[in-house]
């Protein structure tokens, strides 16, 4: 036993303990700052970090989280923060925070120094972010943005001057004309086929041979035939020839039936021309930007751009939530491929199975940049929701400087593949003074006075998003915008009707890629706007329809003319054959009955001679 050694160990332990109490906070602070900065993509700075291993608590005086896109701004900063950790997970390398209390949270604050990370770190973060990107929400957002742009482009007031029907008609090929051409071509092919069939060498040869045979039997004169046996032979010949004619008749009849079938199918194809014409009408109207004005989509024209912009903001927020969700869950995936020198931790019991990261309760209070006071909590923020089988719940409420109330709820559920995320958000009683609801020329008003309320909700399930956004305005007074264009007839009307309009409702819904807006302003505006626009639109539509009809009628007439002549030709030929064969058959029958009579006559004479002799 070495006493010197024991003393050495005691000294080392004492020194380590002293070092721990003096330097551990700073050491942990540096490491936490580094880890959080890396996750955020910009500096995260902590002031006066405190950690107590005995109380298992920690906290800080201030934390600043820099905005990666604007390094001279903080995404948010907090005041005094405290948190309590659980011991059992901690010794298993897991961070489970029982309660995290963040106070004096402020968003979008200015920084004195840049929050940009050193270039080396930025490169690492960019590389790791390249594999991110849920994309789906982004796509939905992009689609919505495009819809908004579409609404923006429809300018009802200037529609008339934009409308140049002649140039549009020249620029496009009518699908109905193409269709008629194709039907005509099919018909031509069929006609050629039937002409080929009827004029086929074999058929003509056989028919001519039969005609010669008929000419032969026409020469038979029953009275000139002397014996009964010769007469019987003549009857047989007649029957044989008739059978041949029957066969040819059946063939011609079959041709006729088949031809009629072809004719019927060609007529059916021609019946679709009407549908094609409708498509052409719609296509040209779309090109000419002629909207179908009705009460259903008037609100879409007026509020479409503003509403899609608002719903798109929702997608931006959910995209960010998805990004941070992915960041949180990525902590877990690192485990599967151990880093060099770190090894892999194997878990043996469900009893102490914890997610890598779990904040059970996060209590927040603070202020937004516009001085809105907010307080809220986040429950079950974790890297592995499946393991704890809990969803993340976010709730907050607060007051804005104008005394309006703001509140929100979010349930982010990642427990299974079929989980559903839901969001609710509302602002009640906010001032809408100087607020512009629409950027369209159709609604050139700002609100001089009034209070607003917004209720919104969203539901996200796999790749299906349902977003609802309702706006209610009360006690509203509208005022004409200063830069509004000179008054037109329609605007004069709107000015009058808007004077008595105080309570506005706009309800927007985005579901499965489709966007719809309903508003009580529809009823107010639709009637007169329709009257005003209908006249212009009806004129434009009539012009287009007339032009299309002219072209189509010409093509249809040509087709029908061809049809009539080609059909008649074939029908005539078939009828000619039928009539001729019928006549021949009749003649054969006559000849046959004449021959049979002669047989009877000659047979009777022979019997008389036999009995009388």
């Amino acid at each position: 036993m070495r006493w010197k050694g024991i003393i050495f160990i005691i000294v080392i332990i004492a020194l380590s303990a002293a070092m721990y109490f003096i330097f551990s906070d700073h050491w942990i602070e540096t490491r936490v700052e580094k880890a959080l900065s890396s996750a955020n993509g910009a500096k995260v700075e902590i002031d006066n970090f405190r950690f107590s291993i005995f109380k298992l608590s920690s906290g800080w005086d201030k934390i600043q989280v820099a905005n990666p896109e604007h390094p001279m701004k903080n995404l948010f900063e907090t005041g005094k923060t405290s948190m309590n950790m659980e011991f059992m997970p901690l010794i298993r390398q897991k961070i489970v925070i029982d309660t995290l209390q963040l106070t004096e949270v402020k968003t979008n604050t200015d920084r004195t120094t840049s929050g940009e990370l050193p270039k080396k770190n930025q490169k690492e973060i960019k590389q790791s972010e390249q594999s991110d990107g849920s994309g789906l929400m982004n796509k939905a957002g992009q689609r919505l943005k495009a819809t908004g742009e579409e609404y923006k482009n429809i300018r009802l007031e200037s529609m008339k001057s934009d409308l140049n029907i002649d140039s549009i008609m020249l620029a496009i090929d009518l699908s109905s004309i193409e269709y008629i051409d194709s039907v005509k071509k099919t018909m031509e092919e069929k006609v050629a086929h039937w002409e080929g069939v009827i004029n086929a060498d074999d058929f003509q040869k056989d028919y001519k041979a039969l005609e010669s045979e008929f000419e032969e039997i026409k020469k038979i004169d029953p009275k000139a035939i002397k014996t009964v046996d010769d007469l019987k032979a003549a009857v047989k010949k007649l029957e044989k020839t008739k059978k041949k004619f029957d066969k040819v008749y059946d063939q011609v009849k079959q041709y006729e039936d088949d031809f009629n079938k072809d004719l019927k199918s060609a007529r059916l194809a021609a019946d679709d021309i009407g549908e094609k014409v409708k498509t052409d009408y719609a296509e040209i109207e779309k090109m000419a930007k002629i909207p179908n004005i009705d009460t259903k989509n008037l609100a879409t024209f007026i509020f479409g751009e503003t509403a899609t912009g608002s719903v798109n903001k929702f997608f931006e927020i959910t995209e960010k939530i998805a990004y941070y969700k992915k960041k949180l869950s990525s902590v877990k995936s690192e485990k599967e491929k151990p880093k060099r020198g770190k090894g892999q931790y194997i878990e043996f019991s469900q009893k102490y199975k914890y997610p890598d990261f779990w904040i059970k309760n996060m209590i927040l209070s603070g202020e937004l940049q516009d001085q809105t006071r907010l307080a809220g909590k986040i429950i079950n923020l974790t890297s592995d929701p499946k393991l704890i089988n809990q969803m993340t719940e976010i709730s907050f409420s607060g007051k804005r400087p104008d005394n309006s109330e703001i509140s929100g709820l979010a349930n982010i559920d990642d427990r299974s593949e079929n989980s559903v995320d839901t969001y609710q958000f509302s602002i009640d009683g906010f001032s809408i003074q100087n607020f512009s609801l629409s950027q369209t020329e159709l609604f050139p008003y700002t609100i001089a006075n009034g209070r607003g309320k917004i209720n919104s909700g969203a539901r996200m399930e796999k790749e299906t998003y349902l977003v609802q956004l309702d706006f209610f305005g009360s006690n509203m007074i509208f005022e004409k915008k200063n830069d509004a264009k000179p008054q037109s007839e329609i605007q004069k009307f709107l000015d009058q009707s808007i004077t008595n309009f105080q309570n506005l409702e706009v309800r927007c819904k985005y579901y499965d890629g489709k966007f719809a807006i309903k508003s009580n302003i529809d009823d107010l505006f639709s009637k007169e706007i329709k009257n005003y626009l209908d006249k212009n639109i009806t004129e434009a539509k009539a012009k287009i329809h007339k032009e299309i009809d002219n072209r189509i009628n010409k093509a249809t007439h040509e087709y029908e003319q061809y049809n009539a002549s080609a059909m008649k030709n074939i029908k005539d030929k078939l009828n000619h054959y039928k009539t001729e064969i019928d006549q021949h058959r009749k003649e054969i029958d006559d000849k046959k009955s004449e021959t049979e009579k002669e047989i009877k006559k000659k047979g009777g004479k022979a019997l008389d001679n036999l009995f009388n002799s």
Partner: protein, 173 residues
């Protein structure tokens, strides 16, 4: 300076009258420190043992340096070995019991690298001990007189040069 001091101590220790057992024991324990991840409870126990048991600290430091440099090369091997032990069917009951015990969790036994390197270093302990013991005996009897005659040893032992280097080092800092 530390390296020269360290080298001087190693040569001195090997050439001293210290028993080969003490030298070999120190070396074998140093090997455990070198091969396994340093910040672990078992290493605290090994350090404690080195400090209180009459083993040679210089050879322990020599082994720590050598095996500490070699350990990263065998990182993959330790991980695979540790993983296979932790996945061994008959041991699951034992590991589950240990996992639910706070002390054993603190030892990080459920880490593939810690367990793999620890078991391998324990397995190597006896061969390394006897191997180094043979080397120490050979060194003391045959090699030491020759090493004493080497110029480098004389330079290292020369207090004049050592003092000169020491003064230079102090001035620099």
């Amino acid at each position: 300076m530390f390296f020269i001091k360290f080298l001087k101590k190693i040569i001195k220790a090997l050439g001293s009258n210290a028993s080969p057992n003490q030298l070999a024991f120190g070396f074998a324990m140093g090997m455990i420190l070198g091969l396994t991840p340093f910040w672990n409870i078992h290493n605290l126990i090994v350090i404690f043992l080195i400090a209180i048991i009459n083993v040679n600290i210089s050879t322990a430091l020599l082994a720590l340096t050598i095996f500490g440099l070699l350990a990263p090369i065998f990182d993959g091997l330790f991980h695979v070995f540790g993983l296979s032990i932790l996945n061994t069917g008959p041991l699951q009951g034992l590991f589950t019991g240990m996992y639910e015990n706070t002390f054993f969790v603190l030892t990080r036994f459920n880490n593939t690298l810690v367990l793999g390197s620890f078991v391998i270093s324990l397995a190597a302990f006896v061969p390394v001990f006897f191997g180094f013991k043979i080397f120490a005996k050979y060194y003391q009897e045959k090699l030491h007189p020759k090493v004493e005659k080497w110029k480098i040893t004389k330079i290292l032992k020369s207090s004049k040069i050592f003092n000169l280097l020491n003064t230079g080092y102090k001035l620099k800092n």
